[in-house]
């Protein structure tokens, strides 16, 4: 089974292709233009379906979703049943 980070990176690369090389883990996805506001909808929907977790509206904040590493940590926390 691929790691969560590998799955996230594959999703970002396939849906928001900006570079053949991977984006840095801590790079802001919105400020750098990799993801736009509707792209966040796509990302959230994918997270819910791919990892079978519920993303609440209050979860949709940059602290949880604005970089590869933040997305990975968020998914790990949610999958473990955390808030």
């Amino acid at each position: 089974m691929e790691s969560i980070e590998a799955r996230v990176r594959t999703f970002v690369r396939e849906n928001f292709p900006v570079s053949s090389s991977d984006v840095p883990s801590d790079q802001s996805l919105l400020e750098s233009g990799i993801i736009d506001s509707i792209g966040v909808l796509t990302l959230v929907t994918w997270i819910e379906q791919e990892f079978d977790i519920v993303v609440a509206d209050e979860d949709v904040v940059p602290e949880n979703l604005d970089s590869i590493e933040r997305i990975v940590r968020f998914i790990e926390r949610k999958a473990a049943g955390g808030q």
Partner: protein, 328 residues
């Protein structure tokens, strides 16, 4: 009775006129300047966004959606024409605007019967949450809502075809290279134009003048849209060939999206007084302001053949003229 989306008539269709602008060119010291008049096509005030309407209407029809959701800025052309599309096509429309309720796009949205959610302090994140929440409410109410993105692959194809249209309009033979100058917001028009240059006008180049984003961010967005639409690797040879034709300039942004600048207001007045051309302060006015500045400081080749792409938005000029021009 509401028309079916598939049978809609979008008024004046492309090709848009290609107008010589010798007086404006002379005042800028440019050898050859043409205006591509997309402000004269389409409906609901026209503009380049209207080029995608027929395809978008067809795709929306096949979704079976009864409600369209979209987001946009306070002077969004997309908001205005899609609110009109929904009205004429008998669909509900809800618009999420990151501006005040009296912003021009909000007013036009309501004018066309859309429900406007004005969120002046919204970020990408809070706007997104608002749309998600509304989607759930609409689903619970038995509505079939669809979110319309700022750009799709099909939109880019329509904009690419616009360059094919330009190439077929019979510009006189000239040794000059062609530089297409356009305002850039979502980046979709610019990405489509690059695709079109590659297919139809390979000696041409594109200057995308940002209306709101830093140049590096706009370039990233254009790259992403182009890679998504073509399936090409961003760093592959074909993509790099297309991107090599792109210059991005963010000098005209001023205080950000929608803010007036004296330079844009002066450029708007210059275009009006030399060519009778109406532009507006958010997109076309800033693109003209950049063109003026670059012709003065020599950062563009004044011997190039320049095609200024009028992307529309003229209805918003009336809103802007409610206040004095900053350049007066």
């Amino acid at each position: 009775m509401a028309a079916d989306l598939v049978a809609m008539d979008f008024g004046c269709l492309p090709p848009s006129p290609l107008q010589p602008a010798a007086r404006l060119a002379a005042s800028l010291g440019i050898a050859e300047l043409w205006i591509k008049r997309d402000d004269l096509i389409g409906f609901a005030g026209g503009g380049t966004k209207c080029r995608k309407l027929a395809g978008l209407a067809d795709r929306l029809r096949t979704t079976g959606a009864d409600t369209f959701l979209l987001s946009g800025g306070g002077m969004s052309n997309q908001v205005r024409i899609i609110a009109a599309l929904a009205a004429v096509g008998g669909r509900a429309c809800e618009v999420f605007i990151d501006a005040a309720a009296d912003a021009p796009a909000a007013r036009f949205g309501r004018f066309f019967g859309a429900q406007v959610h004005a969120l002046p302090d919204a970020t990408h994140w809070t706007l997104n949450s608002a749309i998600r929440a509304r989607l759930r409410e609409l689903a619970a109410a038995g509505k079939r809502a669809v979110v319309i993105p700022a750009a799709s692959h099909e939109d880019l194809a329509a904009y690419a075809q616009a360059i094919g249209e330009l190439a077929a309009q019979g510009l006189p033979a000239s040794p000059r290279r062609t530089l297409v100058v356009t305002a850039a917001g979502s980046g979709a028009t610019s990405a489509g134009f690059l695709l079109g240059l590659d297919r139809h006008l390979p000696q041409g180049r594109l200057l995308a003048v940002s209306a709101d984003r830093r140049g590096s961010e706009l370039r990233t967005i254009i790259t992403r849209l182009l890679a998504s639409a073509t399936g090409l690797a961003p760093e592959g040879e074909d993509m790099q060939r297309m991107l090599a034709r792109l210059d991005v300039d963010d000098r005209a942004i001023g205080g950000g999206y929608g803010t007036r600048t004296a330079e844009a207001d002066a450029a708007i007045a210059l275009a009006a007084r030399t060519e009778g051309l109406l532009t507006e302060p958010v997109y076309t006015g800033k693109a003209l302001a950049a063109l003026c500045a670059m012709s003065r400081d020599g950062s563009i080749d004044r011997d190039e053949r320049i095609v200024f792409w009028h992307t529309g938005g003229v209805p918003y000029l009336a809103c802007a003229l409610a206040q004095p021009l900053l350049s007066d």
